[in-house]
Each structure stands twice: as C-alpha cells, then as structure tokens.
C-alpha cells in the first residue's frame, strides 16, 4: 500500500500543488487539512505515515500543531515536516529544538518536493546529528 502523508496548509494553491507533486512524483497517498485543528483530528483518525505542515496558519500555527501532535500518544510517533516561507537561521534553530523531522522552505519546487520529503524521512544513520 502506498505511503500516506497528511498535508496541513491554509492555502488552497499550496495544498493542491504539494498534493499533486507528492502523489504524481513521489507516489504518496495524500490527504489534506486546511488548519491545525482539522489536521490534528485527521492525524488521529487516519494515522498517516508522515505529516507536512505549514508554519504560518490562522488559529493554531505549525509549531503549536506539532506540539499538540507530540502530546497525543496516538500521533506522537508520526514524523512531522514543517513547511515555511521564513527559514531564517533563528527559526531553524527554534524548529530544531521542537524535534520535527525537518523543515522545508517555501516556495518549493513541485518536481523536487517529494524527493526532499523522502530524504528527510529516510532512517538516520546511527549517531547522525539533527536533520536541520
């Protein structure tokens, strides 16, 4: 069965392009949510293999969504990748301390996104440092 990824982003165009890119290029099964709350509910219900989540969203933002997912035993193990247009060094460090699986910059290249996601989700060699 195809790997399943949950996309959380409030912007419809990003959801569509990212979804299509992950499906067509990466072979993922994709479901999507338009905000953090909906994303958390879907993560509990669907148990995806990974979550790709926008940072800046109305309501609860990406980092807050991630913290809620971490606090729930049912979703704690799901790797989360944050998607953000603001990848300043300070932000990277802040996100790294959260313990996400990775941070991908926006805008992304639709042809490359799925490879980038795959790379972040690949098992880390023993002793490797934080993937950021």
């Amino acid at each position: 069965m195809a790997k399943h990824i949950l996309l959380i982003d409030d912007e419809a165009d990003i959801r569509e392009v990212a979804g299509m890119s992950l499906e067509a290029v990466g072979g993922w099964r994709v479901s999507s949510a338009t905000c953090g709350e909906e994303g958390i509910a879907m993560a509990v219900a669907e148990k995806p293999d990974a979550i790709l989540c926008d940072v800046m969203m109305p309501g609860i933002d990406g980092p807050a969504t991630f913290k809620r997912l971490q606090g729930n035993p049912q979703t704690r193990e799901i790797p989360v990748i944050l998607l953000t247009a603001r990848v300043q060094r300070a932000d990277r460090l802040r996100f790294a301390q959260l313990g996400v699986a990775g941070v991908l910059p926006k805008p992304f290249d639709p042809m490359a996104l799925s490879d980038q996601v795959d790379a972040l989700l690949a098992p880390q060699p023993a002793g490797a440092s934080e993937k950021l």
Binding site: D13, S21, M56, A85, K106, P107
Partner: protein, 672 residues
C-alpha cells in the same frame, strides 16, 4: 501519471485571482504608507499576503517574485509599519512584484496551447507503444530516473487514446514483432501531422524487414535496434527531443525596460529559442559579440543610443552586417516605420507586445535563416548535401553511433558509364539522371541518414543504425527503382542508366571515416569490375572463393527464375541457374560436386528429376551439411513439405511468392 508542470499551470490558472488580490493588498498598504494612513489591520493583512506570495510564487516558476515578496514581508513585519524613508524602495518592490506577477499570469494565459499541453520544458512526456511489457518496464525505470514522464500503451489504438488525453513530447514505437502494420503507420502519420510534429523513435528488431522509407514518410524520426540497452534507447530519445527543439537559434533582445526584456524571454523561451537580453544600449556591442545571435530584437526608443543607431551600426559591420533585425516600437506612424526600414531593419512589432504575434514573426525569421543556411550547404543540382557538408555530417553520424553502440552503413554509389551516357544523350540528360538519383536517395534515406553528392557522378550515403547487410538491401532496392527511371535525350531517344555501389559498415569495416570510405570504395571497384549494375558489401575474403556461386536457382520457369536471378545479382550474390532437375543433381551432388553453393532455391516440379528426388540425392551425399536449401512449392501437399523439411531443407516458400519476402528469407538462411 499526469504531467506535473501542466498540473501546476492549471492550479495557477485556478488561483490567479487570489494571487492578484494578495499583490493588491500589499500595494494598498504601501500606498497607505505614502499617504501616512497605514493602519495596523491593513499592515498585518499586507504582511500576511506578502508572506503567502513569498511562499507560493516560486512554486509556480517565479522565484524572483518570491524574493520580492519576502523582502516586502520583512519590511511590513515592523510593528507600526515601515519607516516612511523606505517608501521609494518599497514602491519599486511593489511595482516589480506586480510586473512579475502580470508576466506570470499573462504567460500562463498566452502560452497554454488549446489542447491543454502546457509548457513541458521541465520534464518531457513520452509515450511508449509496444506489446512487450518487459521492455516497457525497463524503459520506464530509466526514463523516470531522467525525469521523463513515461506512459505506455500495448496497441496503437491505446496509444491514440493516451495521446488524445495528453499530447506526448515524443513517442517510442516498437515494431519489433512484425512489419509496421497500417495501424502503426496511421498512428505515425497522425503524430507527424501535428504542428509541431511529435518526434518518433522507431525500435526495430535487427532482422525485421522494416520499410524505412514508408516509416520515414509517415513521420518516423529515428530508428534504433531494440537489442540496445534501455539507457541507450532513452539517450537516443533525448537526442531526438533536443533536435525537435530549435535551440540552436539565438535571439538577442535590446530594451532599456527590464520588464519588456523579461516578457520577451518568457514569451520566446518556452518555444526553445535561446534568448539573451541587454538592457544597456552602451553595452550592446559587447552583448552582440559574446552572444553572436541569429536575430536581433531592438527597442526603438532608448536613452542615449536608440535602436536606429544600433541598427545602422550593425548593418555597417562586415561580420554582423547580414544579421536579421526586428524592431519593437510603440509608434507605428508611417514616418517612424520608414525610418526603421531605412536604417536596414527587416521587420517590426508594435508594443504592447502580443505574445503570439512576436513568436510567429520571430519563427518566420528563424525559418528563413535556416532555409538560407541549407541553401549554401546543398548541392544545387541534386538537392542533396554538398561534399563539404556531408563530410562533416558523416563524422558527426559516426560519433553519434559510437556513443550509442550502433552500426552505420556507408554506401558509395557511382553511375555506370556516365561519360558515355553524357556523350550519347547530352549533358542535360546526364544532369537529369543525377538529379533523379539524388531525389531517390534522399527519399530512401531520411531522418538521421546522410545523403550527399561526393563527386561528379558519385554519391555517398550514411545510414545510422544500419548493418552492411541491411544497407546492401536498401541500396539494391534503390537500384531497382533507378533502372526504371526513364530519361529522354534531346533528340527524343529513351535513355536509361544504372549505378554500382559498395557498402561498408562502421565500425566493422573501418574505425574512422577515411578507412571506412576506403573499404566502401574497394567494394564499389569490385562491383564495377564485375560489370556494374549491382551492390556489393565489403568482402573480407576477397577473391578466395570468387568462382563459387552464392545461390543456385533450380527452376524451369524462365520468367520467375529470371526475376530471381536479377534480384540476387543486384544484391551482389553470385548466382547460377538450372532448368532441369537431373542436370542440377549431377552438378550439385556426388562425391565431389562441380559446384558447391551456399544456398539452393529448389523448385519441386522440375523436368528430368523432381525437386524432392534432387533433395534426396543432396541429402544422401552430405551436401546439405554445407549448403542450405529452400524449397519452392506450388501445389504441394503437406506431406511433401514435411518430407522436404525432414530431408534437411531449411525452409520452404510456396508459390506465388513476393520477391522481396523471398529475398528476406534467403538473407536469413545465409546468415544462420
């Protein structure tokens, strides 16, 4: 799998309103700042929208737009609004952003072809048609690794449906299992009739007698043997795609307005034109000499040096003087137009630029340039490549074959007794014969093949992916057509002429063009010595078995035997014929036969001794160990055929048969 770039384009179309709205909010905030009227609510909305633009424009292929938006976002993020001192910079950023966005959205609207095939420069879509799922899988793996969108169909009907859904950038057609049927040919024709035509790579089995002329006529772009590795096939495909795009055509656009330059790049770039830009008229000459363009696009009004000045300077230059020049102008009054043409311009396009018009006009110029180039490189009389040109092309063909591990058949053709023909019928008739041969050769060998006039009455042909054996076959068929061409001397007498040819195979008969030529020339000389009017391959064991016939025809039907012997001789086979079974058996069997051919074509119904009886004698005396026999049967029953095969005949062909098919069977039998 659908084409991602096409789908991204579709998303862009769907969300263009949202993008425009976001840019408008940012613009509104900067305007409000200028009027010292920026409230917190608008600032926050503008920051958020700038953020969204920064996050999405690059995804739609506009990374500069993303950068501009990110810079605006940073300025707008300051609590209480940006410092009014930053206003000029912000206003400029907003303007740039709007221009970029406009270019992107216009581009999407202009460039989307009606059939929904969006600009696919990023990853070409390829359609593979083959009944062989295993080959399809192997190609798919390599193609996907090269970022090629790969779809496959088992039949041409399926492929037609897939092509209707999304037009592929190229097609690989596998005709390995049979001669291409009408279905494949119709499919080919359908692809080649499109504008622009879809290039097709045809995969053939090494032994398949594919009618290359027919396939090429219907639009097959290149041939390849399917025994090549998947990687080789995909490489060849990439070459084909490269050739389909006119990337060798360079345009230099000069305009002081960067937005116009970007619009020009955006409009012409996707069509495969190589666009360079120059925004500074004083830097023009340097741009011209470094880019050496094939076409100049000049803005009429520029500060300092205007387009007219630049145009005059180019026309006065010895090296660049002939360069095609087009003007971009917002004035089209007759005085300005006169001035433009007086300065030496070839054409002009009005501003604002209409994408399709600019593209069409540039394409027209491009076609003219290409036609002119071909003219100087063609032999005027025969329309084939000149010696200078074909030499270079042949070198390139060998290099190309080297990279693909493919053979090249090199044929040298020479008209028989051309001087006598000219003396008898006049030079004009001789010219007509040369033209006829040039046209025939260009018709027979197409696509990647090279046809050139090498000397007075000598032609050279290089056929990519063709063995010497296949080459002899094709050239022999050409010879058969050429003999049929009727010319008339000035005094009304009919005039006919034939040619001789030698065929060499690269790299087998020569590892470079020079040695390959020498081999082909030796074969040509042998053909001439044997009386001409036939085609010979390079023979490694020259002369050692010169008296031994290759093929003996035993048939009492004079017409049929005559046609067979002629066809075989044209293809360079030494032949001998017997009418009578008894005579044939005496000559071919016994403890030490008089003649020992490689192959016997043996009719069943013969006077003297019938075919089966002859075959029994041949089997008894062990002749069948070194000689193959093909039985020609007319009304024979199954029992006779089975007996013939049991006795050791390697094949049987029932009458009436087509000569080309029999020739094909003969070639196959001799190869085994």
């Amino acid at each position: 799998m659908s084409s991602v770039p096409a789908a991204v384009q579709a998303v862009l179309d769907q969300h263009r309103g949202a993008l425009e709205q976001r840019a408008a909010t940012v613009e509104e905030a900067v305007a409000a700042l200028a009027a010292t009227d920026l409230d917190e609510n608008l600032r926050a909305r503008a920051e958020r929208d700038a953020h969204k633009l920064a996050g999405s424009l690059g995804m739609f292929g506009l990374p500069q737009g993303s950068e501009l938006a990110a810079e605006l976002e940073r300025s707008l993020a300051v609590a209480g609004g940006p410092d009014p001192a930053e206003l000029p910079r912000l206003a400029e950023l907003v303007l740039d952003l709007q221009t970029q966005l406009l270019g992107l959205l216009e581009h999407a609207a202009v460039d989307e072809p009606p059939d929904g095939q969006a600009s696919s420069a990023a990853s070409p879509a390829v359609l593979f048609v083959s009944p062989d799922p295993e080959l399809s899988d192997r190609l798919m793996v390599v193609a996907t690794g090269r970022n090629i969108l790969f779809r496959s169909a088992v039949t041409c009907a399926g492929a037609t449906r897939l092509a209707a859904e999304q037009l592929p950038d190229a097609v690989i057609l596998d005709v390995a299992f049979a001669e291409p049927g009408t279905e494949s040919l119709d499919f080919l024709e359908q692809l080649s009739s499109r504008e622009p035509a879809v290039p097709v790579l045809v995969l053939t089995a090494s032994e398949a007698l594919v009618d290359r002329v027919e396939v090429a006529r219907r639009g097959g772009g290149a041939f390849m043997q399917r025994t090549q590795s998947a990687t080789d096939v995909i490489e060849a495909l990439n070459d084909l795609l490269d050739r389909a795009a006119p990337t060798d055509f360079k345009v230099l656009a000069v305009d002081d307005d960067p937005a116009i330059l970007e619009a020009i790049s955006a409009l012409l770039g996707p069509s495969g034109l190589d666009v360079s830009t120059c925004a500074e008229p004083y830097g023009f000459w340097e741009a011209l000499t470094t880019t050496t363009p094939d076409l100049l696009l000049l803005d009429l009004d520029m500060p300092g040096l205007n387009g007219i000045d630049l145009c005059r300077a180019v026309r006065a230059d010895g090296h660049f003087g002939q360069l095609p020049i087009m003007f971009l102008t917002s004035y089209s009054d007759s005085e300005r137009v006169r001035e433009i043409f007086a300065a030496g311009a070839d054409d002009y396009v009005g501003k604002p630029i209409v994408g399709q018009e600019l593209l069409t006009r540039v394409r027209n110029r491009f076609e003219r340039v290409r036609a002119q180039r071909e003219l100087t490189e063609k032999d005027h009389l025969t329309g084939t490549a000149s010696r200078r040109r074909s030499g270079g092309t042949l070198e390139a063909l060998l290099a190309h074959a080297d990279g693909r591990g493919q053979p090249v058949a090199l044929a040298l053709l020479d008209l028989d007794d051309f001087r006598r023909f000219n003396d008898l019928h006049g030079d004009a008739t001789g010219d007509a014969a040369l033209r006829g041969l040039g046209e025939l050769a260009a018709d027979t060998f197409r696509g990647e093949d090279v046809v050139g006039r090498w000397g007075d009455d000598e032609f050279v042909i290089g056929a990519f992916g063709m063995t010497s054996d296949d080459g002899v076959q094709r050239v022999a068929e050409m010879l058969e057509s050429f003999r049929e061409q009727r010319h008339t001397s000035p005094d009304g007498r009919p005039a006919r002429i034939s040619f001789s040819a030698g065929v060499a195979e690269y790299p087998r008969d020569g590892s470079d063009l020079r040695t390959l030529f020498r081999s082909a020339d030796q074969a040509l000389s042998r053909s001439k010595k044997q009386g001409g009017d036939h085609v010979l391959p390079v023979n490694p064991d020259t002369g050692s078995e010169a008296d031994r016939p290759d093929v003996v025809v035993v048939d009492d039907d004079d017409v049929l035997a005559g046609v067979l012997v002629d066809s075989l001789k044209t293809r360079g086979y030494r032949t001998q014929r017997f009418e009578d079974g008894q005579q044939a058996a005496d000559a071919l069997s016994g403890p030490s036969p008089q003649i020992s051919p490689a192959l016997i074509l043996l009719d069943v119904d013969l006077p003297g001794l019938d075919g089966l009886a002859v075959l029994r004698r041949l089997a008894r005396d062990g002749v069948l160990k070194r000689t193959r026999v093909i039985m020609l049967t007319a009304h024979s029953g199954e029992a006779e055929v089975i007996e013939a095969l049991e006795l050791g005949a390697c094949d049987h062909v029932s009458k009436p048969f087509s000569v080309p098919i029999l020739i094909q069977r003969i070639r196959r039998s001799l190869k085994r």
